[in-house]
C-alpha cells in the first residue's frame, strides 16, 4: 500500500545495500537487495505501493505483471496499522491467490496513539498468514519479523515457487465477496476508537490549512527554509572551497610538477578545478535535500497539494503538479518521472512542460556563486529569492500559454496522512543518499564537460587559453549576433553552451575558462570581466533555458514524443532569451 512506510521498512531490512534489479517484462526499475537471514540468503524486491491488485494504475499493473512472471517464495504485505479498515483488502487478495505471505502492520506506534487496537493473532488465523504489528521507523518488531520470515521460508522448503495461474480471473471472481469479508474481519479483529483520534493533526490542520492563513504560512515556511539553507550553507561552502584550493596548490601542484605542461594544466586547471568548484557546493545541496525530506515526511507536502490545487486547477494543472514542481527544486529528473502518477495525458504533458522551470540544485550552485560575486550579502539573498519568484512566474506563464493545447479532465483524490515527526537519523541518511546520488550523477557530466571546455579553450595547439583564437573564443564570437543584445560575452556564451549538457558544469567550466580554481579568485576574475547587468542576464538565461541533457532525455522517454521534446527545448530557449533581453536592456538603459 502507498503511504505505509514500505520503503523505510525495506531500508531497515536491507541496510541500504539495495540496487536496481532487472526484471523481464517490466518497464520500471525495481529496487532489490540480497540479504542474509539466519544463514539463509534471499533476495528482497521492493514492489510499487498499491491499493488494489485489480487496480488500473501503472503501478498496479506492474505488480500484477511481476507476480505473473516471477515465482516468489514469500510475499511481504506492508499495511498501515491505523487504516486496516480499508487496507486489509490487499492482504485478502494475496490470500485469494494462494501466495504464501507475511503481513506487516507498520506504524503500529501511530495506531496505538490513535486508539486503534488490533488482535493480530486472530487476524493472522483468519488470513492464514502471520500478522505482525511493527514500527520500521522506530525499529520495533523488526527482529520478530525477520524470525517470522525465516520460519515461513523454512516451512515452505521443498515447495517449488510457482506463479499464480489465471491471476486476474481469480481476483475478479472473488471481488464481490471482498467488501463483506473485509468488513467482517475488521469487525472481529480491530477495535477502532469511538471518537476521533489525532488531536495533533487536527490542531495543526486548523492553522496550516486555514482558508486565509494557510497559503501565506506555507510560503513563509518555504522562504524561511531557503533563507536557512542559504545562511548555514554558504559559509560552509566558502570554507570548503578555500580548503580544496589550498590542497590543490600545496599538495597536487608539487605532485604533478614532473608532468608535461599541457597534461599538468589539464589535470589541475581542468579536472581538479572543475570537480573542486562543484564539490564545494555539496553542503548546500545536502541541506536542501534534508529540508525537503523533512517537509515531505512530516506530511506537509501533501497539504501543499491541498492548498495549491484551486490555483493550479485554473492553470490547467493540479495539486500534484505543484508538489512535483517543488520536488523539481531538488532535481528536475525525478520530478518528471513522478508525473507517472497522472493518467490523463494532457495533464501529464503540461506538467512535464512546467517542471523544468523549477530552479534545481545544480542551478542554485551557479546562482549562489554569482550572487556572492556581484552583490553584497544582503542583496545577494534577495537576488536568489527573486530568481525563485522568476522560476514560479515562468512556470505559471508556461502553463497559461499551453493549457489550451494540453487540456485535461483528471479527477484528484489524495490521501492526507497524519502529521509525523521525522526522525533525525532517517532524514540524515536520506539526505546523504541524495547527495551521493547527485555527486555520482553530476561527476560523470562534470568530467566530460570539463574536459570538453578545457579542450575548446586550449585548441588549436599553441593558442593562448580561452583567447579569441581558441575554439571556444571562435564559437563564442560566432554566436555574438544573437547573444550580444542580452549581454552575454563570448566567455559566458561558452559556459552557457556547456550548461546545456548540465548546469553542474557551468561553474567548473567558468573556472576553466577564467583559469581560476579558488571561488574567490574566480569571482574577482569574473567581476573584472563582466558587469552586474550582464551577470543578471546570465543568471536569468541559466534559470530558464533547458536544465540539462538528462532532463531532455527523460522528457523524451516519458512523453514518447520527439515533437513534444523539441517544443519543450525551443520554448525554454525562447523564453530565456526574451526575459534576458528585457532585463538586460532595461537595466542598462535605466542605470
Amino acid at each position: 500500500m502507498p503511504n505505509t512506510g514500505k520503503s523505510t521498512l525495506f531500508n531497515r531490512l536491507t541496510g541500504h545495500h539495495a540496487h536496481i534489479g532487472n526484471w523481464p517484462g517490466l518497464t520500471v526499475d525495481l529496487m532489490q537487495a540480497d540479504l542474509q537471514l539466519s544463514g539463509r540468503s534471499l533476495q528482497l524486491v521492493d514492489l510499487p505501493g498499491i491499493y488494489d491488485l485489480r487496480g488500473h494504475s501503472d503501478d498496479e499493473a506492474v505488480v500484477r505483471r511481476f507476480l505473473e512472471r516471477s515465482p516468489v517464495d514469500l510475499v511481504l504485505v506492508v499495511l498501515n496499522a491505523s487504516q486496516l479498515d480499508r487496507q486489509l483488502r490487499l492482504a485478502l487478495q494475496v490470500q485469494q491467490l494462494g501466495l504464501p505471505a507475511v503481513v506487516a502492520l507498520n506504524m503500529a506506534d501511530e495506531a496505538a496513539r490513535f486508539g486503534v487496537s488490533i488482535n493480530a493473532s486472530a487476524l493472522g488465523e483468519a488470513l492464514g498468514q502471520p500478522v505482525l504489528p511493527l514500527s520500521a521507523k522506530y525499529r520495533q518488531g523488526l527482529e520478530t519479523l525477520q524470525h517470522t520470515l525465516v520460519a515461513q521460508l523454512d516451512a515452505g522448503d521443498g515447495r517449488v515457487a510457482v506463479v499464480p495461474e489465471a491471476l486476474e480471473e481469480r481476483l475478479a471472481a472473488a471481488d464481490a465477496d471482498l467488501d463483506g469479508a473485509m468488513a467482517e474481519l475488521v469487525e472481529r479483529c480491530v477495535t477502532l476508537p469511538s471518537r476521533w483520534r489525532d488531536s495533533r493533526s487536527r490542531r495543526l490542520d486548523a492553522v496550516l490549512l486555514h482558508p486565509v492563513l494557510g497559503l501565506p504560512l506555507f510560503f513563509l515556511a518555504m522562504a524561511l527554509m531557503f533563507q536557512g539553507i542559504y545562511a548555514i550553507g554558504v559559509p560552509v561552502q566558502e570554507a570548503l572551497g578555500g580548503l580544496l584550493d589550498q590542497f590543490g596548490q600545496l599538495v597536487l601542484q608539487p605532485l604533478l610538477a614532473p608532468l608535461p605542461g599541457l597534461l599538468q594544466g589539464f589535470l589541475l586547471e581542468g579536472l581538479y578545478q572543475g570537480l573542486g568548484t562543484v564539490m564545494a557546493f555539496l553542503p548546500v545541496i545536502g541541506l536542501f535535500f534534508l529540508a525537503m525530506g523533512v517537509v515531505e515526511d512530516s506530511g506537509y507536502l501533501s497539504r501543499a497539494a491541498y492548498l495549491m490545487d484551486a490555483f493550479m486547477e485554473r492553470l490547467g494543472l493540479d495539486g500534484r503538479s505543484f508538489v512535483l514542481s517543488l520536488m523539481g527544486f531538488g532535481c528536475n529528473v525525478p520530478a518528471i518521472l513522478g508525473t507517472r502518477v497522472m493518467r490523463d495525458r494532457g495533464l501529464r504533458l503540461l506538467s512535464m512542460l512546467v517542471i523544468p522551470f523549477s530552479l534545481c540544485s545544480a542551478r542554485l550552485n551557479v546562482f549562489l556563486f554569482m550572487a556572492a560575486v556581484f552583490f553584497p550579502p544582503r542583496i545577494g539573498g534577495l537576488v536568489i529569492f527573486g530568481l525563485y519568484l522568476m522560476s514560479f512566474a515562468a512556470a505559471m506563464l508556461t502553463a497559461l500559454v499551453f493549457r489550451g493545447r494540453f487540456p485535461s479532465n483528471e479527477p484528484l483524490v489524495l490521501e492526507l496522512p497524519p502529521y509525523r515527526l521525522p526522525t533525525p537519523g532517517q532524514m540524515l541518511s536520506r539526505a546523504w543518499s541524495e547527495v551521493k546520488h547527485f555527486w555520482i550523477w553530476s561527476r560523470r557530466f562534470i568530467i566530460l564537460g570539463v574536459v570538453a571546455v578545457w579542450l575548446l579553450n586550449n585548441l588549436p595547439v599553441g593558442v593562448e587559453p580561452a583567447s579569441s583564437a581558441s575554439l571556444a573564443g571562435q564559437l563564442g564570437s560566432f554566436a555574438q549576433p544573437v547573444l550580444a543584445p542580452i549581454g552575454i560575452n563570448p566567455k559566458l556564451a561558452v559556459a552557457l553552451l556547456f550548461g546545456f549538457i548540465a548546469k553542474e558544469i557551468v561553474l567548473g567550466g567558468l573556472a576553466v575558462i577564467y583559469g581560476q580554481a579558488d571561488p574567490a579568485a574566480l569571482g574577482r576574475a569574473m567581476a573584472s570581466d563582466v558587469t552586474w547587468p550582464q551577470a543578471v542576464s546570465f543568471m536569468l538565461f541559466t534559470l530558464l533555458y533547458t536544465p540539462c541533457l538528462s532532463t531532455v532525455a527523460v522528457i523524451r522517454s516519458e512523453s514518447k514524443r520527439l515533437g513534444f521534446t523539441l517544443l519543450s527545448v525551443a520554448w525554454s530557449l525562447l523564453l530565456a532569451w526574451l526575459v534576458s533581453l528585457v532585463a538586460f536592456q532595461a537595466i542598462t538603459r535605466l542605470s
Binding site: Y51, Q83, A310, V413, L414, E415
Partner: protein, 87 residues
Amino acid sequence: MQLIRNRQLQMQAVSRLVDLPTGATARVSSLSADAGLRQRLEALGLRPGQAVQVLRRGWWSGPLHVRVGMTELMLRRRDAARVSLAA
C-alpha cells in the same frame, strides 16, 4: 436513455458529498464515477455504507478535506459531486 435520465433526476434529490455542510457527517449511498475514479475512491475507503465527514473546504472553490474511517483525504468538488449520500 429515459431510464438514465430518471435516475439522474432521482439522484439530484439525494444530496451529494459536495453539498454536505462543513463539519457534517453522512453515509455514502452510491458512486456515479467511471471505473478508474470509483476504484480509487473505494481503495481510499469511500464506499457505499461508509460514514464520511467534511472537515473543511479549500479557498477559491478548492478541494474538500474529508474523513472516512481512519483515513483523511482531499478531493476536488467536481469529484465529490459524484459521491451520493443517503438521506
